[in-house]
Structure formats: C-alpha cells, structure tokens
Symmetry: C5
C-alpha cells in the first residue's frame, strides 16, 4: 500500500461539504412509572398532570425555541420530548426544568439524542469550490476562507426557515439516528465529493416525492452524540414513514452507505391530551 496519492491537507478541504446550522436539539425519551402515578389519589394525580401540561404548553411557545411532547409506542418509552433551543446551555436548562416538574418523580430517563439542525450543502460546495479554484484562489488561503464564509452567510439568510423551523404540527413523528458507513471496502468518507454530491442529489429526489406527506428535519450530531445524524420525520399517516424509508433503502446512498440506529415512533400530544393520559381519565 502506498500513500503517494494522498491529497495534501489544504486540498482535502475541498472534499468536505459545507454545512450550515440552526437549532440545537435534544430528544428525551422517558418511561412513565404508571404504577407510582396510580398510587396517588385522583386530585394529586390530576395536579401532576396539570403541572406537566402547563409546563409543556409554556415550552411549546418559548421565544427562544419550542418544545413538543409525544406519546411513544412500545417499550422504548412512553413519553418523548423534543426541545429546539439556541444553545446547549439552553438545552441543559430544559433538561433541568423537566427534572423539576412534579412529573419528574414519575418518569425514568430511557434515552436521549443531542444534535444541531444541519443543512449539508453538497451542490453548493462543489460549485463554489470549483468557482474559487477557477478564480485561481488557493484552497485554505485567507481569500478562500473569506469567500466561503461570505457565501455561507448568504445561504444562512436564504435558508433561515429551514435552519430555524417550527416543530411541525402533524400528529405522527418518527425519529432515528444514522451513520454513513466507513467499511473496509465501502467507505462514504473516501468517495470523491462529486460522487457524494450525486448520491445525495438522487437521495433527495426520493424525499421530494414525499414532500406533500412527510416533513423532514435533519440534524447533525458528529461529535455530539453516538451517530452522525438525527432524522425527524413528521406526517399525518405513519404508513408514510415506512413507505419513504423503504424506498430510500434501495437508493445507493442508503443501500450501500447508511447505518441506522433505533427507530422511535410517537404521537403528538397537546397539553390537554397530556392531562387526560397522565390523570388516566381516558
């Protein structure tokens, strides 16, 4: 094995797609201790439920980033909270706030996921790197960086709605983390950037075919949590999650290069519905 063809480090910059970032996200999955809730008398249990509902209602409309509550289906948890915030400090504050709820005594943390809303700009990056190179600017040089930063600033403004989205109001959510494979023969991170661009383009077309029925929010978590990305899908019909992800699995970007973590399927719960569920009235 020779490494004569190793790219020099500065050239290697142009193999990394640019990304822009928005909300910091924390998913929290909890088991509810139904038995201990049931031991409470009706008034106390209702008080716990109302205290929770008030907190969720307030969190749903925070100026510095919304939260939402979901019932999870199956043993992976009973309650999932998604928090969108501006900073990790704010996410930690959200965690502490939840732990202080009266419900805090009746839930057990099962899992969580930390990530940041991310748009991966493959088309943009390949085009931009080529333009800058054509202008005779050396990659990694101060001019190069200035040019890239200037363009990213424009992209951030242009795509602000996708970087700082609301939590979609659909009744069903599907969350899962994923990696790109770094196998001994198939290694996403060693494909030429233009191949990756084409694969991501084709991959994106599938998502676009479901545009009317599934809304997706992609977040990056390299260095933040145990997988490289988190994916949230929102829909009115959860059959669409299966259909979309099954179609994508045949696409080369997924078929050959995607590794998937656990899947969490949930149902959006309004504060009012939370009161019913937690107080056990129906």
């Amino acid at each position: 094995m020779t490494h004569d063809n190793i790219t020099t480090n500065e050239d290697s910059l142009t193999t990394v797609p640019q990304t822009i970032e928005g909300w910091c996200i924390l998913h929290q999955m909890f088991r509810i201790k139904w038995r201990e809730l049931r031991v409470l008398d009706d008034d106390e249990r209702r008080a716990v439920a109302e205290n929770t509902a008030e907190a969720i209602a307030a969190m749903e409309h925070r100026a510095d980033g919304p939260s939402a509550a979901f019932s999870l289906i199956g043993h992976k948890g009973d309650l999932m909270l998604i928090h969108f915030r501006k900073t990790f400090e704010d996410l930690n504050a959200a965690e502490l706030e939840v732990s202080k709820l009266r419900l805090g005594d009746f839930i057990k943390s099962k899992s969580s996921y930390l990530s940041i809303v991310e748009l991966g700009l493959y088309e943009f990056s390949v085009r931009l790197y080529a333009e800058i190179a054509a202008a005779g600017i050396k990659s990694g040089s101060p001019e190069w960086k200035a040019r890239v930063d200037a363009e990213l600033t424009k992209q951030r403004a242009k795509l602000a709605e996708r970087l700082w989205p609301k939590i979609p109001a659909n009744p069903y959510v599907c969350f899962y983390p994923m990696d790109k494979k770094r196998g001994e023969a198939k290694n996403w991170y060693q494909l030429p950037i233009d191949d990756r661009r084409r694969l991501m383009h084709d991959h994106g077309l599938i998502g676009r075919r479901f545009a009317g029925s599934v809304t997706q929010i992609i977040s990056g978590s390299t260095g933040l949590d145990d997988w490289e990305w988190g994916v949230d899908l929102f829909a009115d019909d959860p059959r669409m999650f299966k259909k979309l992800i099954y179609e994508m699995r045949f696409d080369e970007a997924s078929a050959a290069y995607a590794l998937f973590g656990p899947f969490y399927n949930g149902i959006r719960r309004s504060p009012e519905r939370l009161i019913e569920i937690l107080s056990g009235t129906k």
Copy 2:
C-alpha cells in the same frame, strides 16, 4: 469507483417492489412479578387475574382489531400480547389500556415490536413495471403512478383477507424480527429486482410446503422499529417452527441475505387459562 452507471432517480422507482398494508401490529413482552403477586391474598390475586382475563377476552373480540395473549417460554418474558389495530393511535390506546389493568402493577415491560402487516408484491411489481414500460409510459410520471395505484387498489381488495387476518387460533406462536443484509459484498438492496423476485419466489415455495402446519403473518417495520420485518408463525406443533426456519436457512434468500433478531416462542392463553396462571391455582 465510478458512478456513471447510476440509475436516474425515476428509473430507480422500478427497483422498489410495491407493498400493500393491513393491520398495525404491536407485540408487547412482559415479565410477571410473581413475587409481588404472591404477596396478595387469594381473593385479591384472583381479582387481578379476573380483571386481566376480562380485558383480554374483550380485546380478543374488538371490532377494530383483535388482541391475543401468550405465555412466553424462558427469561425473555412471561406474557406476550399481540395487538392488531387499524392505526398507531389505536395501538397506543391498547398500551394505555394494558397499563391501567390491575395487572399493570405486576408486570414489567421487557420488549415490544411495532410493525404493519405487509404483502411484498415482487411478482406483481416486475410484471406491472414491464407492462407499463411496454406501453411507453415513463416511470414516475403521473400516468405511471395512476396505473400503479389502480393496480394496487385491486390487489388490496383481492388480498384483503391476508392484509386483515384474524389471529390464528393455534396453540403455539413464534415471533422474530429480521433484516435483509446490506454487507460490503452481499447487499440485498443492490440486487436487480428480478433477482430478488426469483429469490423471494423460491423462498416462498418453502413456506408453501409447510402450508398445512404453519401459518405465517409477515409485517413490515422499516422506519417503525429496529428491524425491517417482523414474522409471526403459528402452529400446533412448535417443532414445525424449527423445521421450517432451518430449511429456509439453506435457501439463498435467507442463507446469504437474512439477519435475524431475537426469537420469542409462546403458547396461546385463553382468558380462562390466564385466570388459572395468574391466580396460581394450577
């Protein structure tokens, strides 16, 4: 590595087999806290048992989808409930109902599985895609979609009994989840659809040889749970589970491409038998 031969995205549609869907399914596996049940006096314990049996009896005959109860063998759990329902909201309602049973204080959730009854139409899809292509209709076009949808509607009607089955009455059940392998050299999702069709056809012939002794219900769970499919087998003799799955393991579709999750073997329990088991009378 070159990607010149990447199929265009619209052509890629015809590599995905069509599926049709029926019941939403939730499997719930519970450990029974025998010790805490035994602490109850006989009348209380019997009341718990009868309350459970009544609920299961009612669930077995729900108009909007049946449930069934099984004793599990071994440490993976003592009780498995299978719920067939029309929606995920209904499945969550079933979960909540179970958590509210008096038995809810004496069980601990060990595992679960979320899926949707699925028929994968390989033969149908290959034939249909060829017919539409022969008619000069571009894949992915509105005409293409209309034609596919129309044919799927017919299939759903024709195969309604297999999409919305009853829970078979056999005494023994075997449940397991599975994936198709996406290895670096062997990748199910990158085989041509016609190869997959042939492999699934051969695979199906083995199942057909066991038609008299094993009934199978396949559900899809891509995007819903941590494996791509769930398989429920029902039989009068559990030796048939071993024989069927062992034979299939030599079939190329399983030998080269199947990955298996945990296996759960259970015994169907009538409400009457549940009372005996839970109250400890025999």
Copy 3:
C-alpha cells in the same frame, strides 16, 4: 451477479440435512438473592431450602422428563436448572412450578435457553438422497417424502436413547449456544451438502476421541432461541471442556464456520447439597 445457477426449489431439498428430534429442553439461569435469604431466620431459611430440594428431587425423577440443578460459577448466575420435557407446554409448566417455589422469592432470572434435542443426520441424508435419486424418484415428490419419512422413522427408533437421554450424572456441566457463520465470504449454509457432511464427520471424530471423558447432548434451536444450537457437555473433570473445545477450534467446521455465545460452567447439585448451600450450613 447472475443467478442462472440457482437450484430449483425442489432440488434445494437435498441440500438440507435431515434431523430427528427428542426432548424439549429449557435451561434456566438464576441469580440467588443471598442477602434476602440471610435476612430470614434459620428455620425459615431451612424451610425454603428443603422446599426447593424436595421439588428438585421430584423433578429429577419425573416420568415425563427429568430436571437437574447446578451451581453456576461466576456472575452469570448462581443456580442453573436444566429441564428435559416432551412438549413446550411441559417446559412452561416447569417454569411456573419453579416460580411458585418458596425459593421463587429469592431468585432472579438472568438468562435461559430453549431448544430441542437434535441429531443432524448428514451421512444418512447424503446417502439416502443419492439412493432415492438413483431410484429415479424426483426430490420433493410424494414418493420422495414417503421414502424419507420411512427412513427417519427407523432412525428415530434406532437412536431413541440419544434422542431421549437421561441427564448425565457427571459433576461438571458446560453449556453454550452456537451458530454456523453466514459471512459474506464464508457461509456454512451455502456450502455443498457433501462438503458439510465431510466437515461434520471430521468434527465428530474429535468428539469421539473424548468419548470416555466428555458426554455431549446437542440440541437444535433455530427458530426457538437466539442461536442455532445449544451444546451441553458433561464431565468429571472440567479441564476436559477446555481441552475438547480448544481442539475443536482448529477443526475447519469450528475454525471457519462456528460462532459461539456465552459459556456457562456449573457443578451438579443433589437435593441434599442444595439444602446445605441454600440454608448456608456449609
């Protein structure tokens, strides 16, 4: 990749070795809650111990299949019960019986394994398939099945002692589950049956060299538990377990194709010795 050389499904029958089955087996591994046992006063603790010993003594001599008790070494558990029974229903009854012992309050289920005594008839199958083919009978045809069934019936009678063995009385036991590898390059299930026959033959010779010192009972668990086979070895000297399995590891059937689960080593406990251990007298 082409599949022109896929065997037709009926021919594929002759790639599957025939098996014959005996006892249904459940291994149960428990942690003993020593601390809670010690809290009892001496008489109560002795009563628990005696109640357990009586139940084990009765189970050891059941007409419908024996049980045996072992101390496990290490943190995987303190007590292992092995139950041989005629049906899964009987195994479930054994589980329920154990849970109802007074000891049931002082043990915690750690693991278990469900399987059925199995003899894999490679030599027999290869010879029989060849004979039937030579007689011009099509594989999978009614004649073929009748002939195979008739021969299996003879084998079951001839090998009845190995299908329905007693639990060997040796003081040491070693239990482990295993799989045959289905790798991308090395796949047991895609080897020609005659290659597998030769590998199993050579593999068996090693076991035969230990015939005087190690007794093995092989059970099949494809479709029943999370590995394909369970292996129980019994010996007077546990060094023989290490020696036998180490030698086998160099044999091609193990070296290239075997995957091993956890190993459980235990010591047979008579009812009398169980009383001493559980009551803490020595």
Copy 4:
C-alpha cells in the same frame, strides 16, 4: 500465506512510535437522583449542594492535580467529573473522596474512563530511528535504548506543559474514546510507520486549523480502558466540536482507520453554579 517477510522482533521496535506521558486521568459520569434530592428539605438539600461545591472547589486547585465538574447533556448522565492526578493511586483516592461526599448518596455511577495524557511522537520517532540506524546502532541494543531514552527525556522537558496541562477553562467539553481499526483489509497497526506518520501529520493539520477555537487533550488508554485513546475537546462554542470532528472524518486517518465510542458533551460548572443546580434554586 507465507510469513517469510515477518520483521524480526528487534527490527519491529522501530515500527512503534515513541510516546511520552503526563497526568493520569479519570472521567466519571454520574446520573443525579433528582427525586431523592427533592425529598430533602431545603436546608438539607442546600447542605448537600454546599458540601459538594466545597469539595469541587478544593479539587479544582489541588497541588497534585486538578479536577473539574461538568453538567452532561442527555441521558448518559447529569454530572461529569474529570480528575487529573499523578498516579492511579491518587485517582482511586479521588473516587473514594467523591463516594464519601454527602452527594454520594444522590448519584449513581453510569460510566467512567481511565487514561494517561499522551503525546505520540511520530515525526520525532521516524527521524530518531533513522538517525540511530545511520549511526550504525542496532535497534533494541543497549546503545539504542540509551539514545532513545535520552531523547525522550528532552522531549518530556520540552513538552511538559502539554503533558501536565491545566483543565482548560472553556465552558463546553466534548469527551470520547476511540480506536484505530484493525480490520481484515484495513489495519492501522500493520501500516508502515512512515505512512502512519504522514497520516497523523495530515490529521494534525486539521486540528491546527481549529487552534484558536478548540483545545484538545489526548490521552492513551491501551491496556487501561476499553478503547485505545480518550479525547477531550474544550471550546467556547460546541458547534466547533461538530465542525472539527466532521472535517476530520474525511481525513484518511479518521475515514479509514478510526472507530469511535460514545460521545459525552458537557458544560463546565463552577462551585457556585453547582450549588444552584443541586439545591434547585435555578
């Protein structure tokens, strides 16, 4: 396969890069039992918080090595302590000290990591080995060892600040363990040392581009914990963790050879802030 080209053992010495070591490090990750803390009355809870804060304040300024406290984000823990000490005995003393805090009753150990600050001297080693070889000194000979040891002593003096660093004061920390891959085709430990040197050099250039915004402390843990290295990153903006590690993932040293363990993201907590958090005042 032939092994004619196996290096003799003494030559193999020059394939191992020299390392120099500093602080022994223990990371401790704890879940806080909020519920049990809340049961305390306000004074008691404040006493627990103040006792903790005093201990942390003292540990931050120990002469024999500092400690620091962080809030963790997500379910992997609520509190992370990092201890830098001179010996493993001192690290064990730190553990015991934490277990004796009044907070010791309200935390549960979730994870930990044991390592030693390490500088891997690839450039230095390759140059030194070449120089010594050019001087005609046999690798592994007493002269060779003396020469290497003398040079390492100089390096230790020169790089003392990096071997015995303070814990950076930035608000955000990112900790993760990692391995170099030893796959069947891609094996870091079988690359020629000069290839590894070049890969590490290129890898280091990426880190250097982030010099202003991310401080990293690398520790070695081969033989000490379950991965080969631990990495601590410190920054004012946690987005930098994602950006840095994502860029590195495209670098050959990471893309082809790095395996990553769990990622822990935390926020530095002063003793004053700890009091607020633990006493629940805000």
Copy 5:
C-alpha cells in the same frame, strides 16, 4: 470452493499446540454499595470491614490456593477478588464464602471471569510432533499419545512454578480477556502451526523485554468463559501496562489476530488497607 485439501482428522492433531494447566482462577468484580455502608453506625461498619479483612487475610494464605483483593478504578467496579484454586468446586466454595461475608450485604456482583492457568507450548509441540513423525509413529496412534503424554508430564514438572504461581505482590494489576480472530480472511486457527509458532515466539520477545517490570499470568478459558484467554499483568508502575500492550499491538500476532475484551485496572489492597477503605477512616 473445494475441500480436497482438507487434512484428515488424525493429521489435524498436529495442528493443535499442546498446553499444560495449573491453578483454576476466578476473577470477581464487585460494586460496593457505599451508601448502604454509610448508613451503618461506625462500630457496625468497622465490624463489616474487619470481618472482610480477616477473611481476605485467611484467603491470601490458604494452602489450597491463594486469593487477593484489589481496588478497581472506575465504574466497572470497586473491588476485585482473584482466587487461585485447585478445582472448580473450590472456586465455587470461594464464591459462596464471599457471599456469606458480612460485606456480602454491601456488594453487588458486576462481572467475573473463569479460567485455568495455561502454558501454550508452541515451540515444544512443533519440535515434538516432528520428532515423533520422524520416528515413523502415526499421529493419534496409542504410541503417539503415550509419547506426547510422557513429554507433557516432564513439562508440567519443569514448569510447575509457572503453572502454580503465587499472586505477585506488585501494587498494580491489569486484567483483560482476549480472543484470537477467526475472520473471513484472517483466521488464526487456520494458520499453519509453524506460522503460529513464529508469531507467538516474536510476541513473547516483547513480553520478555518487559520482564523486569511486568509479570504476566496467562490463563486459558476456551469453553469456560466468553473469551479464549485471560491475561493478568502485575507491575509497580501501571504506565508499564500501557507501554507493553501498546508495543504488542504492532506485533503481527496482536495487530492482525487479537481481539480484546474489557480492561480492568486495580490496586492491591492488604487486609489493613481494606479496613481503612471499608470503614471510611481514610
């Protein structure tokens, strides 16, 4: 794939290196329930500590095999006991004895490892097999076995001190289990014995370079526990563990063929020091 070149089973005997065995070993790793210990009043806690120290002191000097106690660093446990005994029955007796200590109420079993001191005689085996073959004796014949057994008896006498060692008195211990890889391309168990002999020889030279600073005791656990070997290293400076194992990792036997389990690092505790630690005096 053809198997024409499969060695006949009797020839295969000479591919297995001979081993000789000594002490049976049980490692026990415990978490100490500090909180519950602290609840005791000082006298009771001191009584627990003294009772433990007395038992450990006695176990350290047993005629039938010594035990030793270590503090573990990190969350994998607080206390590790290593027991050397003549039989598995004796190891089980040691377990039961520990469970009956007053400390038994304040520890929780976290892990364990069961193995037998083993010397793998590669050089000896290759030479002996060649000599016997040169003498015209058929491998596997009674003469062959008698000759091998006779030579092993001599080896056992000659190497008795290494088979029945004392537990080294150094303050630091490092324990880990390991396997030899059986990959699809790289398979230790399918290398010719002479290649393995050379690799083990080179591997051993590294250990010999550390002879003055690290003492190692290798135990075999094929068929006994979940890895094939256990390794205990003892040293005055734990940096030597890192240095030794890091150097070995570049050696072909480790680089290409070793798989490692969890690493446990501990500090030897005398009975006197145990009293201090458990009673919390310092």
